[in-house]
Subunit: 478 residues, 2 copies
């Protein structure tokens, strides 16, 4: 039996004059002679040259864009431009055809909006195949980075009975009869009757559970789905997205910033080394797309240049207080160009402010740290000043916040006071407080929204286009 090869291997690892078998889908079929075949292993097609006089006309008719074929033939040096090798076809088996009248993915430009409606087929386009291969490579880079640096992967729970995470609105998970749920004497839904014997939701973050593991295994990370039931229809929000959350015992905020920066550079370098062809394709796609935009809206750097810039330059570290000074005195603020003007210390930064700092002022990734305690989560470590906490956000050009992290409050008394002030029931967090009772220590971590990283790495403009089947308000098709 003749071995069947992935096209990626045939194109790069050239056993010329070998008999080969290859399976794939037709990208185009020109002049009844040249089949461009792709199997998803690479952005590049292999050219299969057909002597049409040797094949039945009925068979040739089935070779349309999208058809699945098995081709046998001889791998030879290519006569044409654009490829080193091609296949002289001896035999063709049609696994399945694709009627040009009804198959939606034709060899022409489709809008990204159109393709979102065809999320089950869009990975058959060059753009989505490239995006999803880069996404896969980034995922692997994440696991490899942490493995190489002594971290352990922790699967924190998706269904959570804890409602004190406070990171956003939650989805309820239940098996109760939705029409006639059991009710208590007080007339409330009786969750004691539910599957888990209590009210449960989809997790908004694995951080609190990851902390319990960091305090035993030292260095851990999560990489799993997280959920926000927020009615945000923007190009940067999903109701279901994947998050990476490392948590490290004995790391302070400086070590946490070092980790985040090193991590991001490392995974970017991984795709620069391993996804060259897909990134070049996506760079060209972005250039084409931006041609129709006015000069001022176009990216300053091409995709690969931007990725190299991030991997080679230090992120700028700026305290919240410094940032407020810059923003208060900047032109857009003085000229009232911001929707939310920055008047005083304590203001929460909006996307417009973050973008100004990153894209106009510093022109590089920025790490903001030491935020006002009032605008940050309860578990962040209070500084000696009593007003700020050891929080940090990493802001990226074109993306905004890509990382949010902090040193965690490890002092039992301070944490309890904070919880009480916020009116959170201590009993809800008994296990989280236990970490401060038994062998507590300085520790830190951060969360990185994986889809935002993929957005940045691929140059795509809408977060719905970097995850296979996006979940957004009013949309859970497939």
């Amino acid at each position: 039996m003749i071995k069947s090869y992935p096209i990626k291997e045939l194109l790069s690892n050239v056993p010329i004059l070998h008999e080969v078998v290859v399976n794939g889908w037709v990208k185009t079929f020109r002049s009844n002679r040249f089949i461009a075949l792709n199997d998803g292993s690479t952005i590049n097609n292999i050219q299969c040259v057909v002597d049409f006089e040797q094949f039945d006309e009925e068979l040739l008719k089935q070779i349309a864009t999208g058809a699945a074929l098995k081709i046998s033939g001889t791998l030879v040096e290519s006569q044409g431009k654009g490829q080193n090798v091609e296949i002289q076809v001896k035999d063709i088996f049609v696994h399945g055809s694709a009627d040009p009248e009804t198959y939606p993915i034709q060899p022409k430009k489709h809008s990204l909006e159109f393709l979102r409606e065809k999320a089950h087929l869009r990975v058959r386009t060059n753009t989505f195949a490239a995006v999803m291969r880069v996404r896969s490579a980034l995922s692997f880079a994440v696991h490899q980075y942490f493995r190489d640096n002594g971290f352990y992967y922790v699967h924190t729970p998706i269904i959570t009975g804890s409602d004190a995470e406070g990171a956003g609105e939650m989805f309820r998970v239940s098996t109760l009869d939705p029409k006639n749920p059991p009710v208590t004497e007080e007339g409330n839904v009786d969750y004691k009757e539910d599957f888990f014997g209590k009210e449960t939701n989809l997790t908004v973050s694995g951080q609190l559970e990851a902390e319990t593991y960091a305090m035993g295994l030292g260095k851990v990370y999560t990489f799993g789905p997280t959920f926000r039931a927020e009615n945000s229809n923007t190009s940067r929000h999903l109701a279901e997205f994947w998050m990476i959350e490392p948590e490290v015992a004995f790391n302070d905020l400086d070590a946490n910033m070092d980790l985040a920066e090193d991590f991001i550079k490392n995974v970017i370098n991984y795709i620069l080394d391993n996804c060259k062809e897909d990134l070049e394709f996506l760079e060209k796609r972005l250039l084409d797309e931006e041609k129709s935009k006015p000069q001022i809206e176009r990216s300053e750097m091409a995709l690969l240049e931007k990725l190299r810039f991030v991997s080679e330059n230090n992120f700028k570290r700026v305290s919240y207080t410094e940032a407020i000074d810059i923003l208060r005195n900047c032109k857009p603020n003085k000229k009232k160009k911001f929707k939310y003007s920055i008047d005083e210390w304590g203001a929460d930064l909006q996307s417009e402010h973050e973008r100004f700092l990153v894209e106009k002022h510093f022109k590089c990734p920025v790490i903001l740290f030491d935020y006002p305690a009032k605008i940050k989560a309860f578990y962040m470590r209070l500084n000696e000043d009593g007003n700020t906490v050891r929080a940090m956000d990493i802001l990226f050009p074109g993306i905004g916040e890509i990382v949010g992290g902090s040193q965690r409050e490890e002092r039992l008394d301070v944490l309890k006071e904070k919880i009480e002030t916020l009116g959170i029931d201590e009993k809800e967090l008994w296990w989280y407080l236990d970490l401060r009772k038994f062998g507590t220590a300085v520790h830190s971590g951060f969360g990185l929204g994986f889809e935002r990283l993929v957005l940045f790495a691929t140059g795509m403009g809408n977060i719905r286009d970097v995850i296979p089947f996006p979940r957004t308000p009013q949309n859970a098709e497939f």
Copy 2:
């Protein structure tokens, strides 16, 4: 500043006479002199030798099991047995103590049931730390295997609007008011008002979505959480578990079986190569545990021997029909020892039958294939006999079913007929049917329950003990 080292590095990579700093938790403190310190990086502790006359008594009192310490000192060759190096302590900083009166994880034997109630602290025991490090290594091995073999990782959706997967009972996901949900004119819950504008559930499998990606990228896999709302309180079932689902275009069932077997052997070899000390510890734990059992209930092989046996021997491939013959004529069946006796072809195999085949008859992992169509899912490819489908299950000793897979029905007409017979609404599966309309081809895949693999690899007896925070009926604490 003196560099702080992971204990794993100190123990293996010996810079004798260096000044070192190390952070970790006290395992034991003997004779006011010997601190066994562990930081989670390894099962082994580093011995820190204290000259108690040089330290304050109050400080020494805080050094109890579970306390977090930072120790500075000189790394020297050890005088005692059991370790090559030890630290002569110069300075001790107590990050946080642990009151022996209240800290539950004391240096004595705790039952696994007791530790399940302390899931936030149990990773501080040797057993759970070892299990979770092996779990992490297995996860990495999964990603590495697929990367090395040209697969792309696909994040299939967790919240699904598709209810045709049919793999089991589902959890409903909703943001509607649980007490007073909006109702339609017919008096049903009006899911048009829900977050996604339709009824949604937690996924029971990413397979159908993975198929859409295999038909574009060729070789893909998922590795994510899946959910079953089944009221099964057994040692092998979880309501939330992680599943690995590869899906490969152009693979038939034989290639699918080859892939599954190669995959399992590869990830087992990875932990044999990379988790030797943890596996040796777990092997000893299992031997100790089994000492209290009668001879007949003990494992025939020790843990490492069992893992090597699986990685080195071929899995036995047996058709369902052959298996039924064996079962029909076996002693337990004739002597009515089975709860469900096997009388005729077509019977669904129960756990007792699978265990007989694997543990008594073949004494090795078994792949059963070509099952009766009636007892398998709608998407499995019908054989020419019209009665059986190209399904396969892999059965492991002590675990039972660890893999379930099949070649998928790629013929549109056959699939449609099957769907109709089962009364599934075709409209629910429009996108799945599209794969058979456009460029259809032979393809196959399988699902592997990750926790069952971890159970097998660690020798643990209850699936609740191989996932950080188990979700089971009446239990969603943490």
